[in-house]
Structures are given as C-alpha cells and as structure tokens.
C-alpha cells in the first residue's frame, strides 16, 4: 500500500470479493441481532441500513442511517464508505447533511466530515468517514501505524459496518447532524 491514495482493482476481482463477503455478511449473527438491512446491487455497491439509538430513546425507537459501501477497490482496500440519502442512495455536499449522525465521546478513532477538502485528488470535496477501515482514510492525508492498517483477508465489510454501528449506539449517538 502506498501513502498517495488507493489504487483501482480489476472490476471482476472487486465484484467477486464483494459478492463473497456480502454472502458472509448476510449470515453473520449481528445482522439479525443488530437489525441491519443489507442490500447488494450485484456489482460492487452494498448498502446497509443501521438503526441508531440515543440514550434517552425508548427501546423500540431508533433512527435509521443508510451506509453506502462502494467496493470498487475491494478487498485490496476497504470500501469507500458514506452515509447517504435513503431514496437516492447518494450524498450531495451542502445539501444532505442530515443523513449524517452526530457522534460524541466515541472512545476510538472516528471522524465524520460533511465536506472534507484535503483528499489526494485535487479539488475533491466530499463526505469523509474517517478511520482506517474506509477507503477515504487512505485517499486523504492519513498514515496509519502498521498494526492499524486494513489487512486484505482479515478485515472485510463486517469490520467497517460493525465499527460504525457501535458509534450509533448510546452513549455516543446524539441524533442527526444539522
């Protein structure tokens, strides 16, 4: 892996790895236990709807967040990970800020930037969900320690989704941003 951003993976390889790991994800007990809804487009995009709970919510209340995982560089690199608008499955900078969660006091690294502008790709302004299990982390000015890196064959879609699901639970989740 280089420090100048991610590299493309041949589409057939990315699609095969994505399909394989979607199958693994669908049978993981956390999908049912945590209430995740997984949708796969058959190519390289996976969307996972995650329930979020604030500390003061009743047990049967949650807010839903849709996570789009673009696996076009998978699994050499982690999925490009964004919170997206549920109907369009996209994110427009400056317009869709309410599709992002507000997270505070999360005990491990996590940044959710509505309009990040320091990507390696000059001029790019985009949402950045920032920790080392997202592709955007490597496409911006971040350099993990060796033991913190995404490791092909060890980390997979679950690693990314589970980490963000944790952040959407009490006491960290505070509601929608914006």
């Amino acid at each position: 892996m280089s420090n100048v951003g991610t590299a493309p993976v041949a589409r057939a390889l990315a699609r095969a790895a994505t399909g394989r790991d979607v199958e693994r994800l669908l049978v993981h007990p956390d999908v049912k236990r945590c209430g995740w809804t997984v949708v796969y487009d058959g190519d390289v995009v996976v969307t996972v709807t995650l329930p979020a709970r604030r500390a003061d919510y009743a047990l049967d209340r949650s807010d839903l967040f849709v996570l789009a995982l673009n696996c076009d560089s998978y699994d050499s690199w982690p999925p490009e990970t964004k919170f997206v608008e549920p109907t369009t499955r996209s994110y427009v900078v400056g317009k869709d800020i309410n599709v992002l969660p507000s997270i505070t006091n999360f005990p491990q690294p996590l940044g959710i930037h509505p309009a990040f502008n320091n990507f390696h790709e000059r001029g790019r302004i985009d949402q950045l969900v920032c920790f080392s299990f997202t592709r955007g982390y490597y496409d911006s000015s971040h350099q993990p320690q060796p033991h913190e890196r995404w490791v092909q064959g060890r980390h997979w879609l679950y690693s990314t989704v589970r980490y963000l699901y944790r952040a959407l639970q009490p006491p960290y989740y505070q509601g929608r941003l914006g």
């Binding site: 693994r24 049978v27 993981h28 007990p29 956390d30 236990r33 709970r53 500390a55 997270i103 505070t104 999360f106 005990p107 491990q108 690294p109 996590l110 940044g111 959710i112 920032c130 920790f131 080392s132 299990f133 982390y137 971040h142 350099q143 993990p144 320690q145 033991h147 913190e148 890196r149 060890r154 980390h155 997979w156 679950y158 690693s159 589970r162 980490y163 944790r166 639970q169 009490p170 006491p171 960290y172």
Partner: protein, 109 residues
C-alpha cells in the same frame, strides 16, 4: 466465519456447580466464539479463553465491550476481576454478548 464452542469439564474444581455461556465476537474479523464458564472463574479468565478460541492475541489498546443498562459499556479491571456467578447475578450485561474491539487508525473525535 466460524463459531467455536468450548466447554470446560472440571466445574467442581473451578468453582462449584453451574456455568454460564458468554458469546464473543472479534470485531476486526467478525469471528465468533462461545465460552461456557464455571461460576468460579473470573471474567478475565473468560476473556482469556475467548481470545484463545478466536486465535487472537490481546493488544494493549483492545476493548472488551458489552451492552449494559446505559448502553455500550467496557470491561473494566473491576469487572474483569469479578467471578462469573456475580457478574451474571448482578445483571451487568443484558445479553452476555461481548465484542472485542481493536483500535484502527485515525484521529479520535
């Protein structure tokens, strides 16, 4: 994903009758394991068994988390020193499901 279940046979020696099942997931890999622990074990021993069953080595920054009454909670030194029987009887964890979480790269918010 594999699900490893290990039962410890020598319950009398390990603290008398009765044992409890604890589920573990290693969040980096999604691997799961179940530890059937006698009442007399400490929770630290349960955690140690889980690491062994998962084929992982504990890292200094690892967190062992569970769902408690106030949401996500972490296994503190005090909770790790507690006996299995006490941990269960006090209802500290709502599900006896634990997640072992290693620290990824990035900035803390």
């Amino acid at each position: 994903m594999t699900n490893k279940v290990k039962e410890k046979p020598d319950r009398e020696k390990d603290g008398g009758e009765g044992h409890h099942a604890f589920g573990f997931t290693y969040d980096d890999t999604g691997e799961t394991a179940e530890v059937n622990a006698p009442n007399g074990w400490t929770m630290q021993r349960v955690i140690d068994e889980a690491y062994e069953d998962l084929g992982e080595t504990a890292k200094p920054d690892d967190r062992v988390e569970f769902t408690g009454a106030q949401g996500t909670a972490v296994m503190t030194p005090e909770l790790r020193a507690m006996k299995v029987k006490d941990f269960v009887q006090r209802g500290i964890s709502t599900e006896n499901q634990f997640h072992i979480v290693s620290k990824p790269g990035g900035a803390t918010s």
